[in-house]
């Protein structure tokens, strides 16, 4: 939850795609359901692609960055997206991989993250990549990302423990509409 708070604090008024399950519940518990957060309730593996589409479509917009949060298990479901990101090179995209080594929302089954150098793969795909394992490291990487005009991946090693938080049961059509209105009318800096 600390990592999610830091991400929200670094990009308080930029579009953020929040990945499935525990991350959404913890983000909502930590900072509330914010209009600039698009909560992906059940499409594991899709947030990086959604963030990529948003960052392309918002390339000329007032937004400085588009953030997509994904877990290690989710990214492994569609690792090819890193190649697509590298090919398209969206300057605003910041992909944050919260790596706890498990499928945290489904009972903590192990992933292959221990043997996967996510940052190395991202660099091989021509992304800028960082690998951090502390709050201070994450804070620094987020600050750096704000100034980089290339797609960025930040791998954040976190513990497997998830905070108890209530289910988030909002109507997905309402979530999309709220987010769309934020993109159209929201308070991001000019």
């Amino acid at each position: 939850m600390d990592a999610l708070r830091l991400v929200d604090a670094a990009f308080p008024d930029q579009p953020i795609v929040v990945n499935v399950g525990a991350a959404i519940r913890e983000m909502v518990a930590a900072v509330g359901s914010k209009p600039n957060h698009l909560h992906i309730l059940d499409s594991m593996g899709l947030p990086p692609a959604i963030g990529l589409g948003l960052s392309l479509g918002l390339a000329e917009s007032r937004f400085e960055k588009v953030v997509a949060i994904e877990g290690d298990g989710g990214l492994l479901m569609g690792l090819s997206v890193l190649s697509t990101i590298g090919m398209l090179a969206p300057e605003k995209l910041v992909l944050i991989v919260l790596d706890n080594g498990t499928y945290g929302s489904t009972g903590g089954q192990p992933t292959a993250s221990d043997s996967t150098d996510f940052a190395g793969v991202a660099r091989a795909c021509k992304m800028v990549a960082n690998d951090v394992d502390s709050a201070e490291g994450l804070r620094g990487a987020l600050n750096e990302a704000r100034a980089i005009e290339e797609p960025v991946l930040i791998r954040v090693r976190i513990g497997p423990k998830t905070e108890k938080a209530p289910y988030f049961l909002e109507d997905p059509a309402v979530l999309a509409d709220t987010f769309r209105r934020f993109l159209r009318d929201g308070p991001a800096r000019a």
């Binding site: 959604i50 569609g78 999309a176």
Partner: protein, 170 residues
């Protein structure tokens, strides 16, 4: 009955009327002329996607951002995208438009692909995915307007719409 190149030309005419800023495409031997056209099209960024479900996510992000976009895929990949399609753009009421080339049936040259392709329509029906069809039963002069109407229908109904296009002769 219109020949394959006439059918591709009619789809291209429909795409021209849509005037997409982005076109995502999967590889397909039957879609070569259409993909070549959008890749060469001024003011369109056309790019390959490696998997259908990745395209679902990218296309949804583009739509949320207000960009005019569509995807070109082949029907044997429909199975790859169903979970992504139903859990995200369908559930979230995000319009998307897919031009889907048909395989299997008359004119087919592959001995295996019909196993999935002949069942694409019932699969889409079961998943409640809206689609329209273009084949030899539809006069070729109606194809371009059907492309644009199907695109507009996805916007009007706030959901993904597929246009199944038989470019092989059936």
């Amino acid at each position: 009955m219109a020949e394959p190149d006439e059918r591709s030309r009619a789809i291209i005419d429909g795409i021209e009327a849509i005037d997409p800023r982005y076109v995502l495409h999967l590889p397909s031997s039957t879609l070569v002329d259409i993909i070549d056209h959008v890749q060469a099209r001024p003011n369109t960024r056309a790019f390959p996607i490696p998997r259908e479900e990745e395209g679902v996510g990218i296309l949804a992000g583009l739509e949320l951002a207000g960009a005019r976009a569509l995807a070109i895929i082949q029907d044997n990949g429909v199975g790859n995208l169903l979970t992504a399609l139903t859990t995200f753009p369908m559930a979230y009421h995000i319009p998307q438009f897919y031009i889907v080339s048909r395989r299997g049936g008359l004119g087919e040259y592959n001995s295996m692909i019909h196993v999935i392709c002949e069942k694409v329509e019932p699969v889409l029906d079961a998943a409640n995915v809206r689609y329209f069809s273009l084949d030899g039963r539809v006069p070729i002069e109606d194809w371009p307007a059907t492309v644009t109407k199907a695109y507009e229908y996805s916007r009007i109904t706030h959901r993904p719409v597929m246009l199944l296009c038989n470019l092989m002769g059936g």
